[in-house]
Each structure stands twice: as structure tokens, then as C-alpha cells.
Symmetry: C3
Subunit: 399 residues, 3 copies
């Protein structure tokens, strides 16, 4: 267990076009570096404003040993505080979500206002300074109603992305969505195996029968490329088809990586659902089903898939170097009424089926990667996105 | 995980008046040192003579990887043996308590008498010496019927404490109690967070509503101090009120730390029970309910709380560096009859409620202490006892 | 946890005639060396041809982080492949046993034929060489229908054993058995404690009452030796009684260790069953119940016990350095019909009872070995086989 190679050697030995060496998935020191250089630096999707409509509403965003309180303050803004009392360190919010008048530690009742300032602590010596004992805080940025947090002192900028994708957020109504459903899946595998899985559709046809009945992408690479070319040619441009390829390793200096792309569904398929049938009112300013879906990615662990009538978010977070969790979020337009305009089961069916398949796939991948006989394998031409992710990942370890 | 600071540096960096740095709760090497310097050295409360009335009766006292058999021998004395066969190391007693004619290893039937001497081992070579293959033993000392064990070669002396508190043991009838109930609680936290929790009542008002309805101590520090002053002034001295402050770090050279103190309950409260009503016959030589309770502490992990009609013991032991267990014991006078003189549920209600609250509190404390954003926090004026404990603890690591 | 002695020092300090020091059971680096020098080198019993009668039938043989597919190929031979896809490392076979037309990875559908050659991988670059991307394979050797695998480049030879024991395999009909039952037991103990347990009958009388009603071996060493001498003297030699003592440390250079021995049962006992009554048709060429059983051992972790009417196999494998698993296999002659010629419950009763006892014994042994107060203990004269095993084991660590 102890004889891991130096990280620098592992980085040097990595061969482009291949999967990672086993130690990247097993070495706890590498895991610590990942947390510091990736998860404590980049922007993480935390949740949505519709989860915290009123003052004091909060939810937690948790990974590894960290817990962040994302809360609606009195002035209506969203703040993020570390869920760690400045006294003896207790968690302050014990429920995954709730409503609080103030943030009062359940242990000794040290009390912070919603902005995180310490406003009450009994029996402290005269030289105790409440001002320097507020909750540690995280940066918050909004993308429409989507809430992103970063624990970095100096996080990468999101401005380039916000400017570039203004029309996208506008046409899909990012300011006018609500969370319809949120599900959570623990996965017995290193987080990178989970991200790698989402990054490619090389596995879609063998693994995801239901997905393959809707998404053109699951066909052969050649057929998909042809179909996409035709789709873009025929597009009236109402919804942007132009790719924003600042994917992971392709981010501009000082900016967060992001990506936008639009892909056709199979002919006649209108949404990401059983048989591709519509499952909710059209999003934003859309007027017709274009039989397509858009991909939007920002930061290293969150992927948004925008169908014409709902948006899905996939979020991956590490728990230990051997375990992860995956959260799925379904968004619909904020004036849609459950039971009338959409049925939750219909809305969420396809991706609940898909994630359960992926969970098994990823855990079996981990089992094999654990073997002494695992060696990095050659990636296919269909795995260019995992390669981008690996490039980004390996660069992150160099810092 | 691997990059812990040297212990000497941690000790040097500790700042008086603050909680401990995270590494004290996480570094497995520190945990090993704690076991050696604290748990294998000091006196641990193991149980009570009323648990082993007859020859061969035994119970186990277990912490970390150790298991100690506490047993009544033929001459009526109490001995303590390591539960490790001298042959190939099997545990000998497999049940937490029982009765044995001899200590026969269930594996190969090596047999020890109740004193721990090897009296039978089949098929051993002629040069095998049974005399040098007796069970390893632990020191035993009695405080009334309370059994303490120490694994030290040269354990700290209990004599000063025994002499000092003779009148206390006498008035409460320490020689004439019996165990009424014993409960066991696993806690997902480092043992120090558990001990720290017991050491202060800063958390009582916010956390323990039922406790606060009985104990004056749960009010504000100022009100309690005033009430205590009045209580001591009015005391007729029948039960000692004089403090014995040889608490942890204040122990005399070569002696075990101990403490005695007497505190008022809230007016009209007679015992540690729902509403403070009496729950058992008065202990020892007590003649009236004094509406008070005495604290008695000896060794690093056991706290006795003596109400006028029953005594409670709280014992904390480590299981791993991340998990602990807590045992609660309720004692009544030995001639009290269950169902007639006391009702078990009434007797045990208050502290069963309280420990369950504390279990949650402590586990949430651990979660926050695990965060990278936890930093040692300033202690309040109400946390002087935890400070004594921390002083003792840090000194123990220096050895 | 971190301060383990160097292995060389531990090896030097080992004292003949004693059990091992604690660190041999606890140090993860020693465990890694054990896996490499023992489990990846020697022959491991994997299963039986009757489990995979048809082309494509397979079962898995798993230990530590390794999974081996043992499969019947098209030409009827048995092959063994590592269960690790050469692409991104996924396990290929997910069920413990099954039937496959080809070995298709469930992740991205890379497809291998039953011989392990890569025969399909979509979208690979032109310079990708399928020939060098076949499944890693393990060596396979057959002993009658028993399948052994070795992951060594140059495994020890089994030829000496095959030649020597030809008459044994012949008389018991090793070519004409079938698996009647297979059971699996996880054990919370280091694998060596499990093997040591099987190696001696010093514990049989205290621990295994039902076994002791059948096997003469469970009596005193002196009585057994006398009874065995008489048994051998009276034997007509139809079943070999001559010992093959190439046990563990006594293996010839370059050969796998093995052993054969024949021992009397208690008078009137015909088989390893309740009361010693027959439970299946006589094996191979046997014509009468000889009231005896033969021991056959080959490789470090598998023990065969051959009664006149059935054969039992005991296999021990490590899972982590703290956990193991034990598999039991019962074999009968291949033309015996379940329900008519044998009753599964009767057949398997004795050793199911025995293994459950041993499971407890071994786990209690581990608990005591975990104590700081465990020290290597003197072995009895009845523990010569564990001593052979320890010699072999310690020599293996020297490599």
C-alpha cells in the first residue's frame, strides 16, 4: 500500500491516448492534491435558487470532508458559508436542507446571522473578537438560477462564459426555471472513473438501450457525424448550434473551462424521455421541438443537458479516494405545474434508468482497475472528451 | 493523509485557551501514543463487584484492541487478566460476561485457573514451562465496590484519593451499592471529543432541556455561581462540600488525578430524574434529600455523578482513532429492590435522554473538526474543565 | 500503525517452535509480499471441470483484488484469463459463474474470444494492434477434473506430484467425479490464521465434537499414532497408505509442495458424516469402505480430504490483510444421482458444522492476536504441520 511512485514520475510516464495508471485512482496523496487543486479551486454547481426561495432557506453542498451551507440572506442574495462553527468546530446545519432564522450552532449556541457574522457567543473573555470569528465563506456566482460556489481565494473567472453564452441562457430561459426533482447516488468508485464515464458515448450503445432510442449520439460515430452536419446545416439558428469549445484543458487563461454544443436527437424524438416524447412545456423562448439537445458544461464536475422541454444536471463529487456520489437534477420552466404540465415519473425516467446502469458499469470498472493486471489501455477515437478531461486533470496535478 | 506534523511541533503550537488542532483527532500515531501514555497507564473504571458476586463470575473491559477479564477468584478477591491465550493468542472469554470454573481457551483448551496460572496444556515438550505461561495480568484497585484496573507496570497511586475522600465514600455508602443498569453507546467520534463534551456545561442549556430542568448548573454561569455559594454557606457539612481539586493536570506527583465537588440542583429538585423527583432509597447514611449532587472523578475517562438516591457513572473508551464507546452505569443502594424500591425506567430516564443528545452533538462536532476549514476555536470562560483535560492530555503526549 | 519492523528483522527474530509475531498478521507491506510471492506464484485450486461442462461455461476464481475467469473453450480445453478489459480495465464477467459465447466487456463492448484474443474493438486508430491486446492469462493444470491455476511466469512443476500419485488418482477416480456442492464463508481474520487452523488437530477435541465422533485423529496423539500404525499394518495396499511428505517446505526444488497420507477413522465409521455412516456411492475403484480417509494437499491453500464415498476440498484465500474467505467443495462420483444415490444435506452436514465452528475460533484468534499483549506462543507437539507451513511461509517472504 505504501510504495506509490512519486506523482511527478507518474505524470511524466503518462502516455497520451491511454487511460490513467492505477495509482492515480489509489494513491491517497494524489487524492488530497485533487481536492486542493480541483475541488477547492474550481466552480462547483451547488444547486438552484428555486430550492431556497425565502430568506433563511438553505441547502448543503457536501464533498470529501467539506460541507457548505448555501443560504438565501435577508437582502435576497445567495451566500455560501462553511458549515463549521468557529468555536469547537461542530457542524451547524445538520439537515441537508431547511430554513433558519439565524445560523445557531446546536452545540454551544454560538449564533451567526445569515451573512455568517458571529452575533452571539456567551461567556467569552473580554478580549474575544466576534468580528474575526464569522463563518468562513465560499464564493458564489449565479448562472441564471444556477448557483455555483468556489472555495478558491482567487477562483477562475466565469465572465467569458457568461458573455459568450448570453443568447443560450436567454433562449432556454435560465432565469425562469425551477428544480422539479433531485436524486442522489453513492458510487463505489474513484470520482475520475465517474467523470470519465459521462464524457463519452462510446459506451452508450452497449450499455444504454433506452438512451440509444433517443439520442443520435449513441449510433456509430460516422453516422452521428453525418447526421449532426445535416442538422447544423438545416438549423435556422434560433437556438445556437455554434460550439463553444473551451472544454476543460482548452479554457482561456484565468477563466473557468466551459463548453456548449448542440446535437440532434434521433428523428422524431422530441425530448430525453421514453420514446423521445415531450414531457414538459417548452423551455424559455422555444417555439417548436427542434429534436435536439444542447450540452452545457462549466467547471470540472457538472454537466447540463438541455432538452427543449427540460434541463438535466449531472454532478459528480468525491467522498473518499475510493467512493463518490452523483447528483441528478431535473429543471422545468418555473411556471410549469406538476401533475398538470409534467409528470415527475415521465420527466425523470430516462436518466434514472441510465444512471443506474452507469453506477454498475463504473463500479465494475473500479474493480478491474484495482487489479495488478490492469494497465492503461488505448482510448478509442470516440473518447476525445475523456482525453480532454485527462489533460486538464494531469495539468491540475502539476500545480 | 500521510503528511502529519511532528507531534512535538503540534504540542509547541498549541495555544492555551483554544481547542485542539485537527491533527490531534486524526493522526493515527498520536492515537497510538494516547493509548500507551493514557489508557495503558492510568486507572480505568472497569465495573462493579455486584456484577461478579460469585467465584468465577467475570465481565470484560474492552478498549482499542484490548480485552481484559475482570474475575472473582476463589478467595473472593477480584483479579484482572488479559483475554489473550499464551499459546496462539485466542481470546479466552468470548462473552461480555459470564461464569467460569476455569479459564479454558476455546481453541486448544489450554486451561488457566481463576488466578491466571496455566494449569493444563496438552502435548507440550518437556522443556515447556507452564509457570512462565500464565495470563498477563492487570492491576486492580477497589474504591468501595467500584473496580478499577490499570495496565501500567507502575500505575499512579490512588492512596491520596482514598484517604482524602474516606468520608465521602462513607456517607454515600460506596461499600453498599449495587449496579442497577448498564448501557452501552458506540460513538462515531474520537474519544477526546467525547470527554470534552462531558467536561463542560456550556452546552447544557442549548442541548439538554431535560437536564436543565434539574441541574442548577445549566443556568447562566453567574446565576449558578451565586446559587452554589449560597448552597455551600447553608450546608450543615453532613455531606462534604469542600472541593478536592486534583483534577487531571492538578494531580499530585505519582498520584492519579481525581476531583470531588458538590453542586446544588434547582430548588425542589431531589434527584437526577424527570422533574427531579426521587427515584430510589437514599444512599448510604443520607437522611434527607439535600437537593444537590456530588461529582467524583478519578482517572481520565470516568466520571461519577452522585445524586442523593443513586449514582451514575459515565465511562469513555476509544475503539479506533475515529470511534469511541460510552458506557453508563446506574447504582443504587444494595438492599433496594427493583420494582419495589425503584423503577428502572424512572431511574435511568434522564441520562439515557441526555447521552442520546450528546451522541448526536459529538458526532456533529467530529464532522466539523474533519473539515479543512476547522481551526482551533477560543474556549469560553465556562470551559475551564475541558482546559484542564487538554492540559493533562498534552502533558501525557510529552512523555 | 506506521512503525512496523523491517521484514528482514522479523524473519530473523522468528523463533522455531513458536507462533508468528503480530506484525506478520498486521503489516500491509507483508501482505503485499505474501500476495506476490505466494498467491501470484503457486498453484491455486480454482474449481472443477464438472462446473463448466459446455463450451463457454465459466466461473470466477477471486482473491485480493484479482479476478480470474476459468472457462471452457471451443476445443474443450480449460483456459484462465484475467477478468480485466485491456481497454479501460472493467471487469468483463460480472457473475460468479455463467455461460458466454464470447467475452464481451459490458462497458464498451470490446470482445474477446474464449481463448482471450481480442476480436472486436470499435473506432480504434489504425495503429492499434488487437494482437497485443488479448486478455492476460493464467496457467492452467488439471489433476483429474480438478482445475489449478497459477499466475506465475514460471510456476513450480506439478509433474513430480502427478507421477507419484497416479495410483491414488486412479483408485479414487479423480477423472470421474463431479461437484455436488460448493459453499463460501467470509472470515474476519488474516488468511494465515485460517490456514494454521486447518493444519492441526490439536484443536479438534475441544472444538469439533462431531468431527471427533468420526475421525480417530481427534483422540490423543498417542492413541491416534497407535491406531494408525495398526491400520497401516493391516492394510492390503489396495489404497495407498505410503505417505508422500513433500509438504510445503519439503517440496523438491522447482516443484510444487504436496502431500498424501491415509488415516484411519474411528472403528465402524465409514465416511465423514453424522455418525460416520456412508453418504454416497464408493468413489473410483473402491470396493469396500476401509474406514479411513486420505489427505491430499497441493499448493499452499488447498486441502483435499478423500473419504471412501466422497471428496471434500477446503480452499483458503485472502481478501485483505484482515479478511479471508474459505470455500468448501464436495465431490461425488460423476454417475451418482442426487436424491437417489446421495442426499446433499447428509453429504455436507459434518463439514458445514465444522467450518462454522472454525470460523468463530479463527475470528477469536485474530482478536487476541490483535492485542498488544499477544506474544508468539510455544507450539505443541501436535502442531508439526503448522510448523511446516510457517517454515514455507517464512521462506516465501525471503524471496
Amino acid at each position: 500500500m505504501a510504495n506509490f511512485k512519486p506523482i511527478s514520475q507518474l505524470l511524466e510516464e503518462y502516455q497520451d491516448g491511454y487511460s490513467l495508471e492505477q495509482e492515480f485512482y489509489k494513491n491517497p496523496d494524489i487524492y488530497q492534491k485533487e481536492i486542493e487543486n480541483i475541488f477547492l479551486h474550481h466552480w462547483l454547481f451547488a444547486g438552484h435558487t428555486s430550492q431556497i426561495p425565502k430568506t433563511g432557506d438553505y441547502f448543503l453542498c457536501e464533498f470529501d470532508k467539506e460541507s457548505i451551507i448555501v443560504i438565501r440572506t435577508k437582502d435576497g442574495s445567495v451566500k455560501a458559508h462553511l458549515n463549521v462553527c468557529r468555536h469547537r468546530g461542530s457542524h451547524i446545519c445538520l439537515e441537508k436542507q431547511g430554513t433558519a432564522k439565524s445560523l445557531t450552532c446546536p452545540y454551544h449556541a454560538w449564533t451567526y446571522n445569515l451573512n455568517g457574522d458571529l452575533i452571539a457567543a456567551r461567556n467569552m473573555a473580554d478580549d474575544f473578537d466576534p468580528l474575526s470569528n464569522g463563518l468562513h465563506s465560499a464564493n458564489v456566482e449565479m448562472v441564471g438560477g444556477l448557483i455555483f460556489v468556489s472555495l478558491a481565494k482567487d477562483p477562475p473567472s466565469l465572465k467569458g462564459m457568461q458573455d459568450d453564452l448570453k443568447d443560450v441562457f436567454d433562449v432556454f430561459g435560465f432565469d425562469n426555471m425551477k428544480l422539479a426533482k433531485h436524486t442522489h447516488y453513492p458510487i463505489q468508485a474513484n470520482w475520475k472513473l465517474v467523470v470519465e464515464n459521462y464524457q463519452e458515448c462510446y459506451h452508450c450503445a452497449p450499455s444504454h438501450k433506452d438512451f440509444a432510442k433517443v439520442h443520435a449520439m449513441a449510433q456509430s460515430l460516422e453516422r452521428f457525424d453525418a447526421q449532426k452536419e445535416a442538422f447544423i446545416k438545416n438549423s435556422d439558428g434560433y437556438v445556437r448550434t455554434k460550439v463553444s469549445p473551451f472544454y476543460f484543458d482548452q479554457a482561456k487563461d484565468g477563466e473557468e473551462g466551459y463548453q456548449y454544443d448542440r446535437n440532434p436527437l434521433l428523428t422524431g424524438r422530441k425530448s430525453g424521455s421514453k420514446g423521445g416524447k415531450p414531457v414538459a412545456p417548452l423551455l424559455g423562448k422555444l417555439k417548436v421541438y427542434e429534436e435536439a439537445s444542447s450540452e452545457f458544461m462549466v467547471g470540472p464536475i457538472t454537466f447540463f443537458l438541455i432538452y427543449d422541454d427540460h434541463m438535466l444536471a449531472y454532478r459528480f463529487l468525491p467522498e473518499t479516494h475510493e467512493t463518490s456520489h452523483c447528483d441528478l437534477y431535473w429543471f422545468v420552466r418555473d411556471d410549469a405545474v406538476e401533475g398538470k404540465d409534467y409528470d415527475l415519473e415521465e420527466l425523470t425516467w430516462l436518466w434514472q434508468v441510465t444512471i443506474l446502469d452507469d453506477e454498475k458499469i463504473i463500479e465494475n470498472n473500479q474493480k478491474g482497475v484495482d487489479s495488478r493486471y490492469y494497465t492503461p489501455g488505448r482510448l478509442s477515437e470516440w473518447e476525445s472528451f475523456p482525453q480532454h478531461f485527462l489533460n486538464f486533470y494531469l495539468n491540475s496535478l502539476k500545480k
